[in-house]
């Protein structure tokens, strides 16, 4: 029989403050960065000072006697190509961090400096010709159009800016037992990757454990040990002492991932009776030296005909990694701005035109009514009717106000996860899963789910996550953890409870099927009941363990896929200074069954704030002269301070019948596009290229 969530939920859907909140708020939470095992050494990495070079000579021998140095490790040897400024060359471990930094300066390296590419625009000229994706004939589509609009839109490469940088502490407990404290979104995979690495896979009976009870943000960039992690493990092995290697802030910007840029030239056609009939796009972007910069297009909306050609271009810069809803914000930035330009020229209702042209295939028929609800609610909350006007605020004076809206979508399917729920004879309950908490709230989610099924309070269950030896779960990415972990823990609890019912039924003189768990008691339909403690005492000495596996076919209906989200922005632009001020953002989000309302809302706030950052501030700048990143810090790589942020209103739509769907990525998707449209609505011209710095606003106005 298929497993189901209970009809009436006591814990799921309520607001449960983070169970680890007090540990974080008092500074007691130990992140990987905070681990200082006895005898700890500090490691640093020597990185390429050139955007593109070859190593001609390198001498690590000379620093082996440098004060404090205990081990060295060559990452790339003579002849190796260095593909970007910041590419790893060698690592050194020393008694203090200061000594490790000094030791790097004592390494002599000879480079052959090679030509480099920093500009996406230049790289495009030599990019291989890609295939064209086509739906119908765009020529026919454009022929039907009443209005055709062309526009250019772009967003630059941005970086993850995880506050806890990438890295780990490697601690060999013996020759074949390795403990890692890694800042990772995937404890199981990180341990497996280290064990399988060429340097260590020949070690017989090697046991690697990764422990990550806390980690300071990943956003898609922390799925394995990385080059620096492997280096730290090797240094620790050589020195026979624990080694900490956490990246410095500049290294984090250079080497720890980024979101690819997107440049698009779009032609879009529609009819006055509200049909999107043709969409033609040529796009490119860079994901660094290996190039990949894909993003879906057309996005959310379904033109009758479409054509799209996309170039992945390579530049000499650090490689891309998934960043919160990989590809989708770029899609929204391109698609929504083009839609908005078309809507403006057509003179049709922006909201109705959007609702009418949502895609008709895949998950979109399910999402259609959800989008409609979201758009109507969002429009009401941002006071669309009152404040929206045709493009260009006609009010006298330099301050121009405008509104914009945008939609996003994400799959959010439940990811792979197994979990165990153990019920002990003394009434204790443990729920364990090899997942991790990125700040998303998994630590709180795990006991919540078990408590719901077992009829207990959240604090009656001990949740155990963040250790690779627990029942394996996948990495936390793509908004897949909440679904996968909830299902695995939920079913493990249901199985354990069924075993408990078998034991309790004879005591209460009924069949197991007559029993239910509620409010800390096991209750029979015959009116008799036992307290949880007394019920568990029937186990005598033997605990019972239920195992749940997300792959189990019987549990598929407990989660869903495909969410829609709408966001609205209200902005004021000073057309004399070019300053953009966001007055208010409204986010309406769908995530199927809401698990923990408080934490779910926090995710949405976080997504909106991330989108504001990318719309107004964030940009990786490469130096045309050297190819090196100009702003690898947090001064010139800007993110919002409190005073930069507007009022943000979050509305969660709860659709319990859709099952659990992740919420990490969706709220990050449409915000920047909504802001872009609000800016155009305010100033009367399309600015098009993000981020909306005063210079870009003023340049666009000058062309008006």
């Amino acid at each position: 029989m298929p497993y189901k969530w209970p009809e009436k939920k006591k814990v799921i859907g309520t607001s449960v403050p983070r169970l680890d909140g007090a540990f974080k708020a008092t500074g007691k939470a130990k992140y990987s960065f905070d681990r200082n095992p006895p005898g700890l050494l500090f490691a640093k990495i020597l990185r390429s000072p050139h955007a593109h070079a070859k190593i001609v000579e390198i001498d690590l021998k000379s620093i082996e006697t440098f004060p404090g140095v205990k081990a060295t490790h060559l990452i790339k040897g003579v002849g190796a190509e260095l593909k970007y400024g910041g590419d790893e060359i060698a690592a050194v471990a020393a008694e203090t961090e200061e000594q490790a930094r000094d030791a790097l300066r004592a390494i002599r390296v000879k480079y052959e400096v090679l030509p480099f590419q920093w500009s996406e625009e230049e790289a495009l000229k030599v990019a291989p010709e890609p295939k064209t994706d086509e739906v119908g004939k765009v020529e026919d589509g454009f022929a039907k159009a009443d209005v055709v609009v062309e526009g250019s839109y772009s967003c630059p490469v941005i970086t993850h800016v995880c506050l806890e940088t990438h890295g780990l502490v490697a601690w060999w407990k013996s020759d074949e037992e390795l403990l890692l404290y890694a800042s990772t979104q995937a404890v199981v995979k990180t341990a497996a990757d280290v064990k399988g690495d060429a340097l260590f896979k020949t070690i017989p009976n090697l046991k690697v454990t990764c422990e990550t009870p806390y980690m300071g943000g990943g956003f898609g960039s922390k799925f394995g040990p990385d080059i620096q992690g492997i280096a730290a493990v090797e240094l620790a092995r050589k020195a026979k002492r624990p080694v900490k290697l956490m990246l410095e802030r500049d290294e984090e910007h250079w080497a720890a991932g980024n979101r690819p840029s997107a440049f698009a030239k779009v032609k879009i056609g529609g009819t006055r009776d509200g049909k999107l009939v043709a969409f033609d796009a040529l796009t490119y972007g860079t994901g660094g030296f290996s190039g990949g910069a894909q993003f879906p297009l057309p996005y959310v909306y379904g033109p009758e005909t479409s054509r799209r050609k996309h170039f992945n271009v390579s530049v000499n810069a650090g490689d891309r990694r998934a960043l919160r809803a990989p590809g989708h914000p770029q899609s929204a930035i391109v698609m929504e701005q083009a839609m908005d330009d078309l809507i403006d020229k057509l003179g049709v209702d922006p909201l109705e035109f959007r609702i009418r042209n949502i895609q008709k295939t895949g998950v979109f028929p399910t999402l259609q009514p959800i989008y409609e609800t979201e758009i109507r609610l969002g429009a009401e909350r941002i006071e669309w009717k009152k404040h929206w006007h045709p493009r260009g605020d006609k009010t006298p004076g330099p301050l121009k106000r405008g509104l914009g809206c945008a939609l996003g979508t994400w799959n959010g399917a439940a990811g792979q996860a197994q979990a165990s729920v153990t019920i002990r004879p003394d009434g204790g309950v443990e729920a364990a899963c090899g997942t991790q908490d990125l700040g998303t709230g998994t630590t709180t989610l795990v006991p919540m789910v078990a408590a719901e099924i077992l009829g207990l309070g959240v604090k009656d269950v001990t949740g155990k996550i963040g250790v690779s030896s627990f029942p394996p779960a996948g990495g936390s990415g793509g908004s897949t953890s909440c679904g996968g972990v909830s299902l695995a823990v939920g079913v493990a609890a249901m199985k354990a409870l069924a075993m408990l019912f078998e034991k309790v039924a004879p005591k209460l003189g009924c069949a197991p099927a007559d029993l239910r768990a509620e409010a800390g008691r096991i209750v029979s339909s015959n009116g008799k009941s036992l307290s949880w403690k007394d019920a568990c005492a029937t186990l005598e000495t033997q605990p019972i363990v239920g195992i749940g596996d997300r792959a189990d076919k019987e549990i598929q209906g407990m989660s869903g896929v495909g969410v829609g989200g709408a966001q609205f922005a209200d902005v004021t632009v000073d057309i004399e200074t070019g300053q953009v001020r966001i007055n208010k953002m409204v986010a309406v989000a769908d995530c199927g069954l809401v698990m923990n309302r408080l934490l779910c809302e926090s995710q949405v706030y976080g997504g909106v704030i991330g989108a504001i950052n990318s719309a107004l501030f964030e940009e990786r700048r490469l130096d045309p002269k050297t190819g090196l990143m100009l702003n690898p810090d947090l001064e010139w790589y800007r993110v919002a301070g409190h005073s930069d942020l507007p009022e943000i209103e979050v509305h969660l739509l709860d659709y319990p019948e859709r099952g659990v769907i992740g919420i990490g990525e969706p709220p990050y998707i449409p915000g920047a596009a909504a802001i872009a449209n609000a800016v155009a609505n305010a100033v009367g011209v399309r600015v098009g290229d993000l981020p909306f710095s005063p210079r870009r606003i003023l340049s666009a106005l000058a062309k008006k």
Binding site: G21, A25, T26, A29, D102, A106, K267, L282, K704
Partner: protein, 224 residues
């Protein structure tokens, strides 16, 4: 500003499709130079050693600090920051280890506030304060906010309002908020906002961090 009439979109005669050539001509971030010679600065070059083989600088010196009311003595190089001294040298270097890793190192150059401590009653970026400078002053870290095991009102509200997600920025936010409200529990929303302006959060907890501080202010006022 005067408005010019914009060119109407062409409904007819628009060529379907784009070439890479006209694409390159029309797309691109304004203000970025279009052509850069690829062969700039090529050839062979050397780096290092730019430091003597025996290392640099004065050797470790004795430093006496008063942290959260406790006297500690450590031996660190004079260039060691207050942040690194407390995070890495207390536990490792002292006979009576204290483990103070609550303050975080994020930007390491006074841009993000994750390392915020109170030194002599004022908030400082401890990543750009030397340990030797902090001698003779009262140093307060996030670990020192609790009184008799009870969370500081700002800490309590951060937990209750969910003003924290991954938690890595949280100690810094809490120190900034606590310093602001201890000085002035009547601080307005804008004053609290300004107090928190030097702190960066990447998960996006700012809205609720502000809410938490406002609620904490009410609690502190009620207590007095």
């Amino acid at each position: 500003m005067k408005k010019k009439t914009r060119r109407p979109a062409k409904a007819t005669g628009a060529k379907p499709g784009f070439s890479r050539r006209n694409f390159i001509q029309t797309v691109g971030i304004a203000g970025v130079g279009a052509t850069i010679p690829l062969m700039q600065g090529c050839g062979t070059t050397e780096s290092g050693p730019d430091i003597p083989a025996e290392g640099v600088g004065p050797t470790p010196v004795d430093v006496a600090l008063n942290v959260n009311g406790q006297d500690v003595r450590i031996k660190v190089e004079p260039r060691v920051t207050l942040l690194d001294a407390l995070r890495d040298h207390l536990k490792l270097g002292s006979a009576d280890p204290v483990d103070l890793t609550g303050s975080k190192r994020v930007c390491d150059r006074a841009s993000c506030g994750a390392c915020t401590m109170m030194v002599g009653g004022k908030t400082v970026y401890s990543c750009t304060t030397l340990a030797i400078e902090a001698q003779g002053k009262e140093i307060r870290t996030v670990e020192g906010l609790q009184e008799n095991g009870t969370l500081h009102p700002v800490q309590q509200e951060f937990v209750a309002c969910d003003g924290l997600m991954c938690g890595f920025c949280t100690p810094g936010f809490i120190m900034s908020g606590a310093a602001c409200l201890e000085k002035n529990p009547n601080a307005s929303r804008d004053e609290i906002r300004r107090a928190l302006d030097g702190n960066i959060c990447r998960c996006g907890t700012q809205i609720r961090a502000l809410e938490a501080c406002e609620k904490a202010a009410r609690r502190i006022k009620g207590r007095r």
